[in-house]
């Protein structure tokens, strides 16, 4: 399954997305990191250096990677803070991370990530630790920055609503395996993998409040469990004998993309 960078989304075993980058040779990785690809993580507090000002942390990226002089780099830091919606950026630039709220730290982290104008921004659970109204701010910010910088976003999240809002394509993962990939409108409207479908059906949604949820039975496997066949098989309503024995190959979805299921739910199942 090819991973499409343009607004693509990974969910499930989120570490895999990171591992891909970490598996590279250290030198290649360092060159990639920040120059063409930037990462923002869920835990903004530990991603920021507590001992230097937020402004310097942005400027430092420009000084190290682009050889920009300090004064100019600091001026750019103010611009970047302003771009990410931080009020009074020329004061904020001299503040330390602990003086920022959770939402502000996430914005500061985005500002650092944007300093080198990456082609790809990897956002690893960027809203998970945030409150609802702040999460809405950050998602809107990411969407507008994507337009402005013409960059792609790889959003790693367990939040299907955030995927619906931000992503063009989606890759659904379970227990470290790719289950389904495709255009987000098609995957959400006509999921062909039983896991995708079950996940969507089990989610409480505001537009259908009060509706009984279709719960997925069982629990996610622990990372140490090695499945022979399909990892979702123990919890799957459609599983047959073959699912226990063989990992299903990825086959094409009816509306583009791929699905890895022996009994992929084709168009007719939706009749």
């Amino acid at each position: 399954m090819g991973l499409q960078p343009k607004g693509a989304t990974v969910r499930g075993q989120i570490l895999l997305g990171k591992d891909d980058i970490q598996a590279m040779a250290p030198r290649a990785r360092r060159r990639l990191n920040g120059q063409r690809v930037s990462l923002i993580s869920q835990d903004a507090l530990s991603a920021l250096n507590p001992c230097t000002t937020v402004g310097y942390q942005i400027a430092e990226v420009l000084m190290v990677h682009r050889g920009v002089a300090k004064q100019e780099a600091m001026a750019r830091a103010v611009e970047l803070l302003s771009l990410t919606g931080i009020p009074a950026p020329s004061e904020r630039v001299n503040h330390y991370p602990h003086q920022f709220s959770g939402g502000m730290r996430q914005r500061a982290l985005i500002a650092i990530a944007l300093a080198l104008e990456p082609e790809l921004l990897i956002a690893d659970e960027p809203t998970t630790a945030l409150d609802a109204t702040i999460k809405a701010q950050i998602l809107t910010l990411l969407a507008s920055l994507r337009e402005r910088f013409g960059m792609s976003i790889l959003l790693i999240t367990h939040d299907m609503g955030a995927v619906a809002r931000l992503a063009d394509r989606v890759l659904v993962m379970y227990a470290g395996q790719a289950m389904e990939v495709g255009d987000v409108a098609s995957v959400f409207a006509r999921p062909e993998h039983p896991y995708t479908r079950a996940l969507l059906e089990s989610m409480p949604r505001l537009d259908k409040h009060g509706a009984l949820l279709e719960a997925i039975p069982g629990t996610p496997p622990s990372p140490s469990e090695v499945a022979h066949g399909c990892p979702f098989q123990p919890r799957c309503a459609f599983a047959g004998d073959i699912c226990r024995e063989q990992m299903p190959p990825a086959v094409e979805r009816s509306n583009g993309g791929h699905v890895a299921c022996h009994f992929a739910l084709r168009e007719m199942n939706y009749a």
Binding site: D131, T133, G161, A164, T219
Partner: protein, 338 residues
């Protein structure tokens, strides 16, 4: 005094005395302070008046720090209120002597966010669930108490075999089932669930929500269901109270609050909930609040929401809006202009 929610024209027909009713419930914490400093006053819960009907669910939603857990703990008798009253069956429990209050509040149990840390790690599941009976129902024989514990465990989907295990041998979802069984094992009438699914894997949350709904249907127990997640609260609640910085800003029947939110904060909260429908999500323009929640030790004067409100006027900085109903509106709103 303006007519508050719990006065004559309440949200639901006033057929009988509600199971639980609070009036102006307030909790103030003193934080910091020392020899040379005045301690800061933090009003975690400020003048909250809610009511819970028998066998129904009141959802309480709001962002972190708005006072949901403090309110929950006061209602469960775990934290004494600074002022205000809690009426159980019309009887004010805040005024009762300690022993009497404990006896009355036995009907009210709590389910916590973190299932593991709320279960004794050195006890087997069956013992954990039996414990409340060992304390309060000594009239039953040991065998009867065992049977009762196993029977409620069975109802929440924990087998006899699993009941012999220790909490750490169970998954998060199973631990939460045990927490629910423990809350329901004695003759409980109100269960306060404080973020009961927030710590669980998304694929397991629906199991626990459905279980709570099923148990309510069969046991007739009432819930106060607390969560920061509006979609989760919306799924299970008959009524919803929306909190912001310690205050209830909107209160009414779930469908009214969700479909016709009137307080600007509720409107923003409804808008910020993403629906897993890519076409809808990409076409709608959600109202995005500016700024962040102010420090609770220094809340804005007047309306606490005014620093983030797009409708705020001068009056909002001086006058605290009361939670009232206007005209024929079915829900109560604390806003001068809603």
């Amino acid at each position: 005094m303006l007519s508050l929610v719990h006065s004559n024209d309440s949200i639901k027909p006033r057929s009988e005395i509600p199971l639980l009713e609070t009036s102006d419930l307030t909790k103030t914490y003193s934080i910091g302070g020392g020899m040379f400093y005045e301690p800061l006053q933090l009003q975690a819960v400020s003048g909250v008046s809610i009511r819970v009907e028998k066998g129904r669910t009141l959802g309480i939603v709001g962002e972190s720090g708005c006072g949901k857990s403090t309110l929950s703990r006061m209602l469960a008798g775990l934290t004494p209120p600074t002022s205000g009253s809690i009426l159980l069956d019309g009887c004010d429990v805040t005024g009762l002597p300690n022993a009497e209050r404990k006896r009355v509040l036995r009907d009210v149990q709590m389910v916590f966010q973190s299932p593991y840390s709320s279960l004794n790690p050195r006890m087997r599941v069956a013992e954990i669930v039996r414990e409340p009976l060992d304390v309060h129902m000594r009239s039953l024989s040991k065998k009867e108490r065992d049977e009762r514990a196993l029977s409620i465990l069975n109802r929440v989907g924990i087998s006899r075999e699993m009941a012999r295990r220790y909490p750490h041998q169970l998954s998060g979802g199973q631990q939460q089932r045990v927490g629910i069984a423990r809350a329901l094992v004695s003759e409980v009438r109100l269960v306060i669930c404080d973020e009961p699914v927030s710590a669980l894997d998304v694929s397991v949350q629906a199991q626990v929500i459905n279980l709570l709904r099923e148990l309510q249907r069969s046991l007739g127990v009432a819930y106060i269901f607390v969560s920061h997640d509006l979609a989760v609260v919306a799924n299970i609640s008959d009524d919803i109270a929306v909190m912001y910085l310690g205050k209830v800003v909107e209160y009414g029947r779930a469908e009214d609050v969700l479909q016709r939110p009137r307080h600007p904060y509720t409107q923003a909260l409804v808008d910020s909930a993403n629906i897993p429908d890519p076409v809808l999500e990409k076409s709608r323009k959600p109202r995005i609040l500016t700024g962040e929640i102010p420090r609770p030790t220094d809340p804005p004067s007047g309306c606490r929401f005014r620093t983030r409100c797009w409708m705020a006027q001068d009056r909002c900085a001086v006058e605290v809006p009361a939670l009232v109903r206007r005209g024929n509106s079915p829900q109560a709103v604390a806003c001068h202009f809603a």
